[in-house]
Amino acid sequence: MNTEVSVLYFAKSAELTGLKAEIITVPSNISSVQLWQDLENRHPRLSVLRGKVVLAVRQEFVSLCEQPLSLRDGDELAIIPPLSGG
């Protein structure tokens, strides 16, 4: 089953994609690793961040792993490059 989710890009990921946000359709049981691969396919320049990013799913950090994300329509995802606040 597919879901429509929004993906927010921050910092370097926003520069690399040229986007602040986009809406994409992905399988609801996609894993975080697969989702990242899907985003890299859409935006090949994102590959420089491979191994350095985590996701935020519904505003909670999620490391890249094989576990299904159980996405629901309208969920907010975000690409989180290494933090540098403070």
């Binding site: 910092a11 370097k12 403070g86």
Partner: protein
């Protein structure tokens, strides 16, 4: 918000930050100690001259993470009275504050320890990013290491 009326103040803003406002906002008659941390922009990085920083946040998540930090502080240091965390966004010039944290407590050790915990945890867990803009050369997104 702490149960006994302690305030958790959290602000993400493009306005300039002032230490006095933060210290006044956490001062209270029952507290003997106010500890303040002010993070400012340094003028150099590996020999390159930094002219300013640009901050960006995943604002709603950053605010919820900052609230979580406040609630952890209140669990670890129950005597802490008021907490004010202000983080600046957008362009910040050298020597201007990018973050100010103020914490009050009746005795000094609690607010001093909570202050260190607060800035350490902010840097490690709050989705905020800074880009350094140099006098010459490409800007660079930074990475907290400590």
């Amino acid at each position: 918000m702490a149960a006994d009326g302690g305030r958790d103040l959290i602000t993400l803003t493009t306005d300039k930050l002032f230490a006095d406002r933060v210290s006044e906002s956490v001062t209270c008659p029952s507290c003997g100690a106010v500890s303040l941390f002010i993070g400012t922009t340094r003028d150099n990085f590996e020999g390159k001259k930094v002219v300013r920083l640009e901050y960006e946040a995943y604002a709603p998540m950053a605010e919820s993470k900052l609230k979580k930090i406040c609630s952890h502080i209140r669990t670890k240091w129950p005597s802490v009275r008021h907490i004010n965390i202000q983080h600046r966004l957008g362009l910040v010039s050298v020597t201007e504050a990018s973050v100010i944290i103020g914490i009050s407590s009746p005795h000094r050790s609690d607010s001093l320890e909570a202050l260190k915990y607060c800035i350490d945890t902010l840097k490690a867990t709050v989705p905020i990013w800074k880009k350094e803009i140099y006098e010459s050369g490409e800007p660079c997104w930074k990475e907290n290491k400590e």
